[in-house]
């Protein structure tokens, strides 16, 4: 700063006078002009770009302001056929191995006299061993045990009202849409995996091929076209329910009206929008 102050006079207009300090002045003038034009671009830019003629976002026939999605899971009905898990992988191009899932199913088994359940899922070696491509299945490994109680619990992203993953994202690559889905912008994701760590439900995974965090989108490309997510579409017993909570007649509104629902890990304060019935206190 000291050095700068040794310039002779300085009466404004940029670059007008070419003294011995002209280099710096010219630079400043240039910079000023560049700034002005950049500012102009940035002011005009957003006005020029985006939004279809109908004004609806994100697509011409789907306005996210009009929807408020919710998801229901009835664990009483789930038969553990894992058709949802395979359908999700087909629909969304998820790696077909036992480490990458947007949705998965856990089996809770209480053996006679046991205080805590045994929990297994698709990642368990025994279950991998009996699975085939597009035919994931649970191994019948408790058939010789005395089982007191057992049930399946489908799991997936809870699309929280206060998502921890969104809070920790350093680049704004993950966000909550106006209609309630938590999505990942694959161009802005730098693959740091803070979100994978932050999710209390373990719902995110790292996509090694695209080098980014990945997760359930509620099949956003389907719901924005008026379809159900693939897992809901494929479930043969109606254990999965999806719909618009703004619409009183939608399956999810009925589900919420007819049942007393729970959410997973309420103590985390994430306020999930996936609602469960038929789960046990040990399920989290």
């Amino acid at each position: 700063m000291n050095k700068m102050s040794d310039t002779p006079d300085n009466t404004l207009p940029e670059g007008q006078d070419a003294g011995d300090t002209s280099g710096r002045r010219r630079f400043l003038a240039g910079a000023g002009a560049a700034c002005a034009s950049a500012a102009l671009i940035s002011v005009l830019g957003p006005a020029v770009a985006k939004d279809g003629p109908s004004g609806s976002f994100p697509t011409a026939d789907f306005d996210w302001e009009k929807h408020n999605w919710g998801y229901g899971i009835d664990a009483n009905k789930c038969i553990g056929c894992l058709r949802c898990v395979d359908a999700c992988k087909n629909e969304n191009g998820v790696a077909k191995d036992a480490n990458h899932f947007r949705t998965w199913v856990e089996r809770y088994v209480y053996l006679e006299g046991a205080k805590r359940p045994l929990i297994d899922s698709q990642s368990h070696p025994d279950n991998i061993a009996v699975s085939a491509p597009n035919a994931s299945r649970f191994d019948d490994r408790y058939k010789n045990e005395k089982v007191e109680k057992a049930f399946f619990v489908p799991k997936m992203c809870n699309h929280c009202e206060n998502p921890s993953c969104v809070q920790v994202c350093p680049t704004g690559a993950t966000f909550k849409t106006k209609d309630g889905a938590v999505l990942v912008d694959k161009e802005y994701c730098i693959g740091c995996q803070y979100c994978v760590q932050a999710c209390p439900y373990g719902a995110r995974y790292f996509n090694e091929i695209e080098r980014r965090a990945d997760k359930c989108t509620w099949c956003y490309h389907r719901i924005s076209k008026g379809m159900n997510p693939a897992c809901v579409e494929i479930c043969p017993v109606g254990a999965r329910v999806f719909g618009d909570m703004n619409d009183k007649n939608s399956p999810i509104s009925q589900f919420l009206k007819d049942n007393r629902v729970l959410s997973l890990k309420p103590e985390m304060g994430n306020r999930p929008t996936c609602y469960y019935i038929g789960i046990d206190k040990e399920v989290s």
Partner: protein, 200 residues
């Protein structure tokens, strides 16, 4: 008068520099942030149309009904009407094959008899934690001509005992699993004889 009211020159220069710096900083930020960032929040709004763009893979039974009318009619009136076509046949994206359309090259699999041993047991094999059919399954009653409606769960068999290793397809039509049929004369006939007339 001038000398007293004017700010010292170095202060003027400094504030000018500060102004220039701020303008540079904010314009650079505006310039390097894509248009749609902050449009709806701290994210790139234009990523949402991208995420909403892909073609769905699963189309639902109504789509199949456009062409496979008979199959759809049979299926929708029988005990498997909650089991969507694409559970057994895979996602419909790219089906049917159309030589004029490069995106239409997917041949939907027709599960082989042997494969039904895998396919059907995904849902019907007796398994810990799998809820039993409620109400319990009744034998097919030709007088009523249909199955008992069910609330939840699924009917389960122990494959080895039920079919003695024979493909499920021999006795059950996947699109109408009851009443049972004998598709081909299987090598060994299972202990349970067909309870209703042969259906082909």
């Amino acid at each position: 008068m001038e000398e007293h009211t004017e700010m010292p020159k170095h202060i003027v220069r400094l504030s000018l520099l500060l102004v220039v710096f701020l303008v540079v900083a904010f314009s650079a930020k505006a310039y390097f942030t894509v248009d749609s960032f902050y449009k709806y929040g701290h994210y790139r709004a234009n990523s949402v149309p991208d995420i909403a763009a892909p073609d769905p893979a699963y189309r639902g039974p109504a789509y199949c009904a456009l062409c496979h009318v008979d199959r759809h009619t049979q299926w929708s009136s029988a005990g498997h009407k909650t089991v969507k076509c694409e559970v057994c046949h895979g996602p419909a994206r790219g089906h049917p094959i159309d030589p004029n359309d490069p995106n239409k090259t997917a041949k939907l699999p027709r599960p082989t008899a042997e494969y039904t041993k895998t396919l059907c047991t995904l849902c019907h094999m007796q398994l810990t934690a799998r809820p039993q059919r409620d109400p319990p399954q009744q034998p097919w009653d030709p007088a009523i001509g249909k199955s008992v409606p069910w609330n939840k769960g699924v009917s389960q068999v122990i494959p080895d005992e039920h079919s003695a290793g024979q493909p499920c397809l021999f006795c059950h039509d996947p699109h109408q699993p009851k009443p049972i049929r004998i598709k081909e004369e299987p090598a060994q006939v299972a202990q349970t004889p067909p309870s209703s007339p042969d259906k082909h």
